[in-house]
């Protein structure tokens, strides 16, 4: 029994870690640019596939480093060509645009890499379990969680201690003032979008090692990430972090007791938050309203 619980707790931690990386990227873009990026799950898949293609040439570690950066670069192109045109328009257009983009990207992935699942090769040592008694905890799982924690700390440190990070945080609160102080808001938004895509690409490489690759691998993560943002509170990145961990753990622990309800419990949390604390756990009243 204790093995079942440990198994599901580690699962929850890992699922929660993916929710957190996805949701943080989405949240960054949403906070600064008021855009819900429906294609975020497709940027995740893109990161995974790029790693798959690059790893024969660069090795796993090289691919882990390069493919999130490439994903971010593609994010820059997408933002410059399309997304920046709709910043000052009704939100319906940004939703439709990224929704269409998600369709195109998913179909493109299917066209280039094929509709069937592909396995992602891992360095030999990572696939081993840590101890025989906890056979399900491989080194890869430990490695994944470590990378996610490092990425999250890195992101928060970046936003806290660098000039660009400061501008992103200020722009979240009042973009007009930031613009009038002479900051190039166009470039700031592009950079911010790329940063979100970088996180998506990174989670894509990590997810590929765990569940393999397929064209719609990001879709299952998209809805929980939305919910993580709402539960944590729109406008608060720490809130998004807590929201992601909370629903990941809740879903995993429900799996122990009653597997069929693991999706439902996420929605139950969403409803409870909307009912009791509509601004989210750490959100501020009036954000994005």
């Amino acid at each position: 029994m204790w093995q079942v619980i440990v198994f599901n707790v580690t699962n929850g931690l890992i699922i929660g870690a993916f929710y957190v990386l996805m949701a943080l990227g989405l949240s960054l873009i949403l906070n600064l640019s008021n855009v819900i990026n429906f294609a975020h799950g497709n940027f995740l898949a893109l990161g995974g596939y790029l790693a798959f293609t690059l790893s024969p040439a660069l090795g796993y570690w090289g691919a882990l480093l390069v493919s999130p950066l490439l994903t971010a670069l593609i994010g820059v192109a997408v933002e410059r060509l399309m997304i920046r045109r709709i910043y000052n328009r009704d939100p319906v257009y940004s939703l439709l645009l990224t929704f269409g983009l998600a369709f195109v990207m998913q179909d493109a992935a299917r066209y280039i890499w094929g509709p069937n699942g592909l396995p992602m090769g891992l360095p030999a040592g990572l696939a081993q379990p840590i101890t025989p008694s906890l056979f399900f905890i491989t080194w890869y799982r430990v490695f994944m969680v470590t990378i996610v924690i490092a990425a999250v700390i890195g992101l928060f440190a970046f936003l806290r201690y660098t000039r660009v990070g400061l501008r992103i945080r200020a722009g979240t609160l009042d973009l007009e003032t930031v613009a009038s102080l002479g900051v190039n808001v166009r470039n700031l938004r592009t950079f911010n979008f790329a940063l979100g895509c970088l996180l998506a690409g990174l989670s894509g490489v990590l997810a590929a090692g765990q569940i393999g690759l397929n064209p719609n691998m990001g879709d299952d993560l998209l809805m929980p990430s939305f919910i993580a943002i709402i539960v944590g509170g729109v406008g608060s990145l720490i809130g998004t972090l807590c929201g992601g961990l909370l629903i990941g753990m809740a879903a995993a622990l429900t799996t122990v007791i009653y597997p069929a309800a693991s999706e439902a419990v996420i929605y139950a949390i969403l409803m409870a938050v909307l009912l009791i604390r509509p601004r989210g756990l750490l959100g501020e009243e009036g954000m994005l309203s």
Binding site: Y93, L95, L96, L101, L274
Partner: protein
């Protein structure tokens, strides 16, 4: 009052032109069984246009005429479809009862959920509608025994309706069923038109144009947005019941958020701020989708590109552009 409306909508067609347009629209819809086969279409396709058109027009009550963005209307459409299908399968072989049950199920779910999110605005509101909409998708997907799960709900069939001495034989499909759909569509659209002309509908426009001003005028804005959301869900749920009757089938994709996206793009293609726009948009979208998916397996790319092109180059939609050019 009249001058105020005229000023708010420049380029609004004159009354006589509008009557001619109305007669034209209904004539085209009534004559579908005559002209559609000539163009290589089939009547079920026209039925689909009516069903999606009604759903998109219901959404537009909220999106175009109240200025509130829901990206989760497929939930209420799908609940309507499942409500009708489940009633026909488990409760009674009665088409009117199935329609009533489906409409109530979808509409009431929307009404209750609206209470939770009515104070959210803009993107946040949209995000809540998307997230909540997916709840029903997962429910239908995982409750295998009751809903048929991934394969959808089968084993039900629309039943003929007995009207005193007559029997309306819609079970067979074909033209009779198309006219049945058209009659329901006409009743719903007529009701929607009356609603938009009423003081309530004018208040919704006022909220769309300037929410703060409406608030200062003493209009209970939140309650009006909630009512608009609720009414719009009822119309979309009604369309959903017709969808179940049309296909004798309800599947989880009728609840999926991509269908919500289709409804929004139909509305935008036709023209968000026009009454008939969503129907025209639905016609264009359904025809294109039917054509493209018969031509290529990469239909998703084409649909996605349509979304992107509409947003970037054609945001006002077909009817919106006409009004914008003041034709």
């Amino acid at each position: 009052m009249t001058t105020a409306i005229a000023a708010a909508a420049p380029g609004r067609p004159t009354v006589s032109l509008r009557i001619v347009m109305l007669i034209g629209i209904w004539a085209v819809l009534l004559a579908v069984p005559l002209w559609l086969p000539l163009l290589g279409g089939y009547t079920a396709l026209a039925g689909r246009v009516l069903v999606f058109g009604l759903a998109a027009m219901g959404l537009n009550l909220l999106l175009g005429f109240t200025g509130v963005l829901s990206f989760g209307h497929a939930a209420y459409f799908g609940l309507g479809a499942y409500g009708a299908g489940l009633t026909l399968r488990y409760v009674a072989h009665s088409t009117p009862l199935a329609m009533l049950a489906g409409t109530l199920l979808g509409g009431l779910a929307g009404t209750l959920f609206g209470l939770l999110i009515v104070r959210r605005r803009g993107v946040y509101f949209a995000m809540c509608t998307i997230a909540f909409g997916q709840l029903w998708y997962y429910l239908a997907y995982s409750w295998n025994g009751f809903t048929g799960g991934f394969d959808g709900l089968r084993d039900f069939h629309r039943e003929s309706i007995a009207l005193g001495p007559f029997t309306l034989d819609i079970a067979a499909g074909g033209d009779t069923f198309y006219f049945f759909l058209l009659a329901i569509f006409a009743a719903a659209v007529g009701l929607m038109g009356l609603l938009l002309r009423s003081p309530f509908g004018r208040t919704l426009l006022a909220i769309r144009e300037n929410e703060r001003r409406a608030l200062f005028l003493g209009i209970p804005v939140a309650r009006h947005i909630w009512l608009s959301f609720s009414i719009s869900c009822f119309f979309t749920a009604l369309a959903g019941t017709l969808y179940a009757l049309l296909n004798n089938f309800a599947d989880p994709m009728a609840l999926h958020y991509s269908l919500s996206g289709y409804f929004v793009v139909m509305t935008v293609i036709g023209g968000m701020r026009t009454f008939w726009g969503p129907l025209l948009g639905a016609a264009v979208f359904v025809m294109l989708q039917d054509y493209i998916s018969s031509m290529t397996v990469n239909w998703m790319s084409f649909i996605g590109v349509i979304f992107i092109l509409v947003v970037l180059f054609f945001p006002r939609g077909l009817l919106g552009t006409r009004r914008w050019l003041k034709v």
